[in-house]
C-alpha cells in the first residue's frame, strides 16, 4: 500500500474551476461579438440608407430644377401666333401640358398685367380677377417685367389643401416686353407628375414652406414614417421652400433577421448546452468521487487481508492478485499479472499434480471444499497452502474467470507433522518400555534358576576340591539339574507367548489382506507422496492365521515406506505383485529405498537388530517367524533400479 495521496480531489476541483472559466469567457465573448456585429451591421445599414436618401433627394431636386427650367424655356417660346386667338393659345397650352410639366394653368398677360388669355379658362373668375390685386402674382409679374427674366411667385393656398405657385416668364419681341406667360404649378400635381414612382415608393416627398408648413406631399398613406428625413432647399421657386424626403420604414431584409435570430438562438443553445454539460460534469464528478472512495475502501480491505486472492480469466491467465498473495508467493503483482501456466510459483516437484488441479478447476470440476497444494516461493522456499476456488461472475452475470482464495497452512502442517512424529515417538517409546519390562521380567525369571545352578555347582566344586564324598555332592547336582529344567520351562513358556497361542488355521485371501494393510498405512503413504502400484492375483489363497499374516504384510510395507525417507519424492514408489506358481503363492514388495548394505544383510532377520533410530528390531524377525510358521520362506534381494525387493513364498491352500 503506497502513502496516501494528499487530497487529490481538492487539487482537481481547482483545476476544474479553471477549466470552467474558459468556456464561460468564450461564451461571453461570443455573445458580445455577435451583439457588436449586429449593431455594426445595423449602423452601416442606416448610414447607407441615409446616403442613398441624400443622393436621391439631391437627384430629385435637380430633376425638378431641370423640369422647371425646361418649362421656363417652353413658356418663353410663345409667339404672336399662339396668342392670336384663344384656340391657338389652347393648343399651345395643351402642347406644354403634354410634356408632363406639372403645370395646371397657362395664362397670357399683357404688358400691363391684364389677363388676355388663359387655359383652362379661369375656373375661378375671382382668382383671375384678383390676380392683378393678389400680392404674390402682382409682385411676381412686376418683377418679371422689370427684370425680363422668369420670376417665381410665393406659394399661395388654393382652396384648403392645395398650394400653388406661379412662374412669370416675360416674352420680349424686338427688345420690348410684349407680355408675360404665367404658368401655374399646383405643388401636389407637380410632385405627382415629376417624382418617379420608384422614389415615391421609398420616400414620402413633401414640399415645406418657410414656416415649416407642408405645402404638398406625395405619400402612401398606409406606411408610417419613422426616421428623420432630409431636406434640401427647393430653388427655384425659392421663397424658402424646401424639399423634404422621409424614407418609409423599409422592412429589414429577411436574411439579416434570420441571421440575427439564428445567432441569438445559437448563443442560447450554446448557453444551454454549457449549462447541461456543467451539470453533467458536476454529477459525474460526484459519482467519480464516490467511486474513488469506494475503490479506496475496497483496496484498503483487500490490502489488509491476510488471505491471498487471485483472479484468473477463463484461459487461466492471472488478471488480479492482492498484496497478501504476493507476500505469500514472493512475487510482485507486476510479475504475476498476465502470466499463464505454468506459474512461477508452482513447486517443481509437484508440477504435474498442480497442472492437473489447475486444468480441473478451469473445466469447472475443481474440488468445492478446497484443496491443499505445495507452492514454491520466489526464494525457493516451499509452502503449503489451502486454496478455495469460486467462479468469478461479472456485472452481466456471465462467468468471466475464477477467483481463488489462498491461506498459508505451512505452520499448521508443520505442527501437525510434529504432533504426528511426537505421537509416533511416544508410541515407539511405550512399546520399547513395555518390551523392556517384559525382557526384564524374563531375565529375572531366568536369572533365578541360573543363579541356583551356578551356586550348586560352585558349592559342589568347592567340596570336591576338599576331597568330599560323592554322596555329599550328588543331591546338589540333582538339584542343579532340576533348576536347569526349570529354566527350560521358562523359555518354553516365552516361546509359546511369542507364537500367539494356538495357530488358528483358515483360508486367507492374501489380496484382501494386502488391501487392508495398505489401508492402515494409507495416511503415511499419502503424506510421503508415495505411489503404490498393485498387481494382485485374486486366486492367491493360503491356509493360515489371517491376523499374523496381515501383521507380517504390514511390517514389510512399513519397512518399504520407511526405507524411502531419503528418496526424492517423485521417485517414491512401491510395487506389490502377488502371483501363483507351482503350488506356491509369491508376494513381492519392491521399494526404491536406501537398499540393504552387505554388512547388515546377515543380521537382517535377527530380533532386536535395527537400522532405524526408533526401531525395535522386531519387524522382520516377526515377519520371518510368521512366514516360517506358515511353512513359507522370506527372502530379499536388491531391486535392480535401486532399493530392495522382499519376497514371501507361501504354499497355496489345497483345492
Amino acid at each position: 500500500m503506497g502513502p496516501p495521496t494528499p487530497s487529490p480531489s481538492g487539487e482537481r476541483t481547482s483545476r476544474w474551476r479553471w477549466l470552467w472559466i474558459l468556456p464561460r469567457l468564450a461564451f461571453v465573448l461570443f455573445v458580445g461579438g455577435v451583439a457588436l456585429l449586429l449593431w455594426m451591421s445595423d449602423r452601416t445599414d442606416k448610414e447607407e440608407r441615409r446616403a442613398t436618401l441624400i443622393s436621391d433627394i439631391l437627384w430629385l431636386e435637380q430633376n425638378l430644377r431641370f423640369h422647371l427650367t425646361r418649362n421656363e424655356e417652353l413658356l418663353g417660346r410663345i409667339d404672336s401666333a399662339h396668342t392670336a386667338s384663344p384656340a391657338a393659345f389652347e393648343s399651345f397650352a395643351r402642347t406644354v401640358f403634354g410634356f408632363e410639366s406639372g403645370l395646371r394653368q397657362l395664362i397670357w398677360l399683357g404688358p400691363d398685367g391684364t389677363v388676355l388669355l388663359a387655359h383652362p379658362t379661369t375656373m375661378d373668375p375671382s382668382l383671375v380677377g384678383d390676380a392683378e390685386e393678389a400680392i404674390p402674382s402682382r409682385q411676381a409679374f412686376l418683377l418679371a417685367r422689370s427684370l425680363a427674366k422668369p420670376v417665381y411667385s410665393k406659394p399661395y393656398p388654393y382652396f384648403t389643401n392645395d398650394w400653388q405657385f406661379e412662374v412669370h416668364v416675360p416674352v420680349s419681341r424686338e427688345g420690348r416686353i410684349v407680355g408675360v406667360t404665367v404658368g401655374v404649378y399646383r405643388i401636389r400635381d407637380l410632385l405627382s407628375d415629376s417624382v418617379p414612382w420608384w422614389l415615391a415608393e421609398r420616400y414620402r416627398i413633401s414640399v415645406i414652406g418657410d414656416s415649416g408648413k407642408v405645402l404638398g406631399s406625395r405619400s402612401k398613406v398606409e406606411s408610417a414614417v419613422t426616421e428623420e428625413g432630409y431636406q434640401v432647399s427647393f430653388d427655384p421657386p425659392g421663397w424658402g421652400l424646401a424639399l423634404h424626403a422621409v424614407p418609409y420604414h423599409a422592412p429589414r431584409p429577411l436574411a439579416s433577421i434570420a441571421l440575427s435570430a439564428s445567432l441569438v438562438i445559437l448563443a442560447l443553445i450554446v448557453l444551454w448546452s454549457l449549462w447541461i454539460l456543467r451539470r453533467h460534469v458536476l454529477r459525474r464528478q460526484a459519482v467519480e468521487e464516490q467511486l474513488r472512495q469506494e475503490h479506496a475502501f475496497r483496496k484498503a480491505m483487500e490490502d489488509s487481508l491476510d488471505t491471498g486472492m487471485r483472479a484468473r480469466n477463463m484461459e487461466g491467465e492471472i488478471i488480479y492478485v492482492n498484496p497478501a498473495f504476493c507476500r505469500m508467493v514472493g512475487f510482485s503483482a507486476a510479475e504475476l499479472i498476465g502470466r499463464r501456466p505454468p506459474m512461477p510459483y508452482w513447486a517443481d516437484d509437484h508440477l504435474d499434480e498442480t497442472r492437473s488441479i489447475h486444468d480441473r478447476i478451469l473445466a469447472g470440476k475443481g474440488p468445492e471444499e478446497g484443496f491443499e497444494l505445495k507452492l514454491k516461493r520466489g526464494n525457493g522456499e516451499v509452502i503449503d497452502v489451502l486454496i478455495h476456488e469460486a467462479p468469478l461472475i461479472d456485472a452481466h452475470g456471465q462467468q468471466s474467470g475464477w477467483m481463488g482464495s489462498m491461506v498459508d497452512i505451512t505452520e499448521r502442517k508443520l505442527a501437525e507433522e510434529r504432533a504426528r512424529r511426537q505421537q509416533e515417538r511416544l508410541q515407539s517409546t511405550a512399546r520399547l518400555v513395555a518390551m523392556g519390562e517384559m525382557a526384564s521380567s524374563i531375565a529375572h525369571e531366568l536369572n533365578q534358576p541360573l543363579a541356583a545352578i551356578s551356586s550348586y555347582c560352585t558349592g559342589a566344586a568347592n567340596l570336591l576340591r576338599n576331597q568330599a564324598a560323592a554322596t555329599e555332592i550328588v543331591p546338589a547336582l540333582d538339584k542343579a539339574v532340576a533348576q536347569a529344567q526349570r529354566a527350560g520351562q521358562v523359555i518354553r513358556r516365552i516361546y509359546g507367548l511369542a507364537r500367539h497361542g494356538e495357530n488358528r488355521l483358515e483360508r486367507v485371501h492374501l489380496a484382501a489382506h494386502i488391501d487392508a494393510a495398505l489401508g492402515l498405512m494409507e495416511a503415511d503413504i499419502r503424506q510421503k507422496g508415495i505411489r503404490v502400484t498393485l498387481d494382485l492375483a485374486p486366486q492367491a489363497i493360503v491356509e493360515g492365521d489371517p491376523v499374523l499374516l496381515e501383521q507380517a504384510l504390514l511390517n514389510l510395507l512399513r519397512n518399504a515406506v520407511e526405507s524411502m525417507r531419503d528418496t526424492a519424492p517423485d521417485q517414491r514408489k512401491i510395487n506389490i505383485v502377488l502371483s501363483c506358481t507351482d503350488g506356491y503363492v509369491v508376494l513381492t514388495v519392491a521399494d526404491r529405498g536406501c537398499g540393504i548394505d552387505a554388512g547388515v544383510a546377515d543380521k537382517l532377520f535377527d530380533p532386536l537388530f535395527t537400522t532405524k533410530a526408533e526401531g525395535m528390531g522386531m519387524g522382520l524377525a516377526i515377519c520371518r517367524s510368521v512366514v516360517e510358521n506358515h511353512r513359507g520362506r522370506l527372502s530379499f534381494e536388491a531391486n535392480p533400479g535401486g532399493g530392495t525387493v522382499f519376497r514371501i513364498l507361501l504354499p497355496m491352500s489345497p483345492e
Binding site: A443, Q448, L450, A451, A452, S454, S455, K479
Partner: protein
C-alpha cells in the same frame, strides 16, 4: 555373644537352598528365610554374622527390610543381591550403610568371600561394642565429683590447679584421682584418655 550366622533372605527356595549349599561348602553356617517378614520376626539386636538380601521379593522388598532392620538397631552387615536393573537402588542402599552389593549373575566364590568379610567386620564391631559397653559400666560407677575431676584431668590440668579451681584441698584431689584410676582400671591419665576415645568414635545411638 553368639555364634556368627549368615542369614539368607530370598523368596526363591531354590536360590536359598543353593546359597546355603554354597556357603556350607566353605564352612559358613547359614540360615535361610523365605521372606522379609519371616526374618524380621526373628531378628534382634544381638545377632552376629551377616545378611544376604535379595532386592526383589514379593511383599516387603529387600530395601524396605534393610530400613526396618536399622530401625530395630540391628547392626548386622547387609549384602544385597541385585538384578541388572536394580543397581542404582543398591548403590543408594550402600550409601545408607549397607555393607556391599553383588550383581546377579555372580561369581559364587567371590560372594562367599564377601560374606566372610562381612562376618569378620561384624565380629570386630561386636568386640568394640563389648568394650564400649564395659567402659560405660565403669563410668556409671564414678560419683559426680569424681566425673567432674576426671574431665579436668582429661583436660590436662595438674592436681594443684584442679584443687584451686574447685576450692578443695590438693590432698582430696589426689584421693579422688586414685579412686578414678582404680574404678576405670587404668594406671595413668594417658591410658584413661585412650580408653575414653573409643566412646568418641562409636556411632551415636
Amino acid at each position: 555373644m553368639s555364634v556368627s550366622v549368615t542369614h539368607i533372605v530370598d523368596d526363591d527356595p531354590a536360590v536359598r537352598d543353593a546359597l546355603q549349599w554354597l556357603l556350607q561348602s566353605r564352612g559358613v553356617s547359614s540360615q535361610a528365610w523365605g521372606g522379609a517378614e519371616e526374618f524380621l520376626s526373628f531378628a534382634a539386636g544381638d545377632l552376629c554374622g551377616c545378611v544376604l538380601l535379595d532386592v526383589r521379593m514379593p511383599g516387603m522388598s529387600g530395601i524396605e527390610l534393610f530400613d526396618r532392620l536399622r530401625g530395630l538397631h540391628c547392626r548386622l552387615p547387609v549384602i544385597f543381591l541385585t538384578g541388572h536393573g536394580d543397581v542404582p537402588m543398591a548403590v543408594q542402599a550402600l550409601k545408607d550403610g549397607a555393607f556391599d552389593f553383588i550383581e546377579k549373575p555372580y561369581d559364587d566364590n567371590a560372594l562367599v568371600d564377601k560374606v566372610l568379610a562381612a562376618i569378620a567386620h561384624d565380629a570386630k564391631r561386636s568386640v568394640r561394642d563389648g568394650s564400649i559397653q564395659l567402659l560405660q559400666q565403669k563410668l556409671t560407677q564414678l560419683t559426680r565429683r569424681e566425673q567432674e575431676i576426671m574431665q579436668l584431668i582429661l583436660a590436662g590440668k595438674l592436681n594443684k590447679v584442679i584443687a584451686d579451681e574447685l576450692g578443695i584441698a590438693m590432698r582430696t584431689v589426689e584421693v579422688h584421682r586414685s579412686r578414678i584410676f582404680e574404678k576405670m582400671q587404668v594406671r595413668s591419665a594417658v591410658e584413661l584418655s585412650q580408653r575414653l576415645s573409643l566412646l568418641g568414635e562409636s556411632p551415636e545411638d
